[in-house]
Subunit: 248 residues, 4 copies
């Protein structure tokens, strides 16, 4: 992955924060995030920091809730607000993946059964082709942390399992999805959930014929590569729906 | 199928475009289309062209977004907007099926498991009797196109698999549904989705007794034939719900 | 069953029609009826006629749409509007069941798999205990009618299968639910759907322990008998929700 | 469990009643309660009484509907309104569990299949870790009561099955969930439902690896212990969503 312009890549901190608020609202509005979960964006002016809301449900996040955090998970913004205890996930992934500029962590219900049974998620549709290289599973918890990734050390371990993939499952917990920019991360989070839902149903019918590696690679290119028509259309749609919902 | 008047067949381009906007909004509102997918209507004044939105999510489509396209997939409307890359589906089907005046292409989640496992969709209810002659499966992709039907050649191949049916599944992708007019196409798209959902559940309970061929043929006649009461009632319902949703 | 007062039994035609409009809106609002399906109430002043909307989706029905119909299915109201083609269902059931004053016919998706596979619906919860005597299955169609019950003769056949039960399934079509009054009929329609949804899930987990006959009989008495607290509370709830939805 | 301050523990009756109205609305808004079911809070000034709405659906409950009831189930508030017939559940549990200050009783559809088949609910995610000590099953009904717990004697029997757990299933009926305060009870009710939904899906995929006892204990501490960040965030979210829904 490389940072590419889908007409939506922020050039300033202001633009990045506006987009991050939208990502929070979109993922709540589309049913991917509920009370818990969080998303981050790398600082466009400083590779070594990123933005993340203070501890708050994504549906409620505004510009004023954003904190700047460094790649060790230290909060740089002066504030008396509490950060998410799992901010280390974002720090470790953004440090280990220079190609990634946006990170999602959440608990979509449809994804958890795969994390718990170890059945691999495999793409069932062109729109989920982003995951053609597979979705690894993290199950190397520090038991004393109660399945939360609340230390840099455990977050680094998770990052190593993610490797170069677009997503990683956390056993009995949820998943992380990364993107070269916010729209690609949002698309990945939504379509990982959709694919899990479809795959569960298909496995009840019989043996699915998944996308082959070649099909997945070709389709993924068309979904998120520079100028790809799919992501522009989808991003506009998600933004419009989220704004409509926010205004009611 | 023949073009019949359900009190809703457009006689002018204006009426056709109004109805096409409604079809977009209805299919979004009823959960059949999300960010992706598209619907077309043949030009009532010119058999050899049709209308389709520019590349835009169906929930957002307005009159101003419509393009006129010919049966080779060439955009005739002068515009700097981008067309859907899969417009060739509409071109090839409308060329090969003189009895068809409206085409749906989308990715309802409930339909994809059937496309992927090859389990045939068979009517489970009188309202899904439209599909009594079966729903063929397309799985002859040009791998280099990433499961998108973005050339006329591949669209023609898809059209040959559709044959004289009302719908065709695309493996790991979605489906197309055709109609003699827009309400019949909308009804087909909604009830194909509903039938897939019901059939999946029935197969978990035991062996369904599907509609017999004769039952399906008789029931289908009552659903969409000229003056059929079902389609008039349903179309009014879908229109009213979509308009209510659009006004919020 | 006998006609009992839940604080909601109409004494005048006016009250009966107001309640019938509400029943239409409630069943649409709670997801039991969509474009198709219909509900009726017996004329409180004349045992031999009943009220039913003209052919219209339940979500759209108003007082002005009501027709008076006799127990042979003849429309008595002078009007140029079309009646539902399946009005004979209501005529035959109301004629054969003096204890019944309200009839539902619809196609809840969750119920159809049971109608198609022949797996019997059995009560899984006290609120669905109304069906403790079983739900018979109608599968004796006149093929030439396309699975619609559009003649008095076939409706009488359906009525005989219903017998003294509270509901009957129609194979690959839907169900009918009857009540001593409108609230009891609405409750039956909603809880038959809920029970079907729960029973399908339970059968995927293992062997459910259904309500015994005695448990069902006792629980049913508490749900709909005169002065029963459950139906008063539920009816008020459904009415308030439907009115809220109608006002948006 | 001990009574702890999540920034949300009421100190006065006024605060307790405000919070109880919110709990009713939240549980309706999140789809945990429908027409039936109820929630209570212990009187912060008098250990031996509690508050519960009069017989009314939770979505409709206001401050004016609250009754004070003692631990034998006697209504102390002077009123001509009817209480819930199952108020004894709250009385018996609050008497037997000094550590509990809030009780939920309802019938989430996803939970009932477990109650009916006897498949144990086990935590599938950190947010459902509250149930790491297991969820016992009550199936010792007094048949003559129609599966309702409408006597103090039967409610005490139910309380003994609950024991020291956070929840108990009622066969073919629903469940009870308890909390040291209202937010913890609400969280338990929502996450028990979510876990049941996820567990059903996982069991269709294969053999889930549930949270171990140690994982569950550690995670539960982080969810509801004093100052835990999860419950503060979630409670704010549920309140804001319920208030938004109430204002439409």
């Amino acid at each position: 992955m490389t940072i590419e312009d889908h007409g939506v890549v922020p050039k300033t901190v202001d633009e990045a924060l506006d987009q991050l608020v939208l990502a929070n609202r979109i993922l709540a509005n589309e049913g991917i995030l509920d009370a818990l979960g969080h998303v981050s964006v790398r600082n466009p002016n400083n590779w070594e920091t990123f933005y993340l809301s203070r501890s708050l449900s994504p549906e409620l996040v505004t510009r004023e809730d954003m904190m700047e955090i460094d790649l060790e998970g230290r909060v740089l913004t002066e504030t008396d607000k509490r950060p998410y205890s799992e901010r280390f996930i974002h720090a470790a992934i953004l440090k280990g993946r220079p190609d990634v500029n946006a990170v999602f962590h959440g608990h979509p219900h449809e994804v958890i059964p795969f994390s718990s049974t170890g059945v691999p998620i495999r793409p069932m549709a062109h729109f989920a082709s982003l995951f053609f290289e597979g979705v690894p599973l993290y199950d190397d918890y520090d038991v004393s942390s109660g399945l939360l990734i609340s230390t840099l050390k455990e977050a680094q371990r998770l990052g190593r399992v993610l490797g170069n993939a677009r997503a990683v499952l956390l056993r009995d917990h949820g998943c992380c999805v990364v993107g070269e920019n916010i729209p690609a991360m949002v698309m990945g989070a939504i379509y990982l959930r959709d694919n899990a839902k479809i795959q569960l149903q298909a496995l009840q019918l019989g043996q699915p014929k998944y996308l082959s590696y070649e099909e997945g690679r070709e389709a993924a290119t068309r979904m998120v590569s520079p100028g790809a028509i799919g992501i522009e259309r989808a991003w506009e749609y998600w933004v419009r729906r989220a704004k409509k919902s926010m205004s009611i």
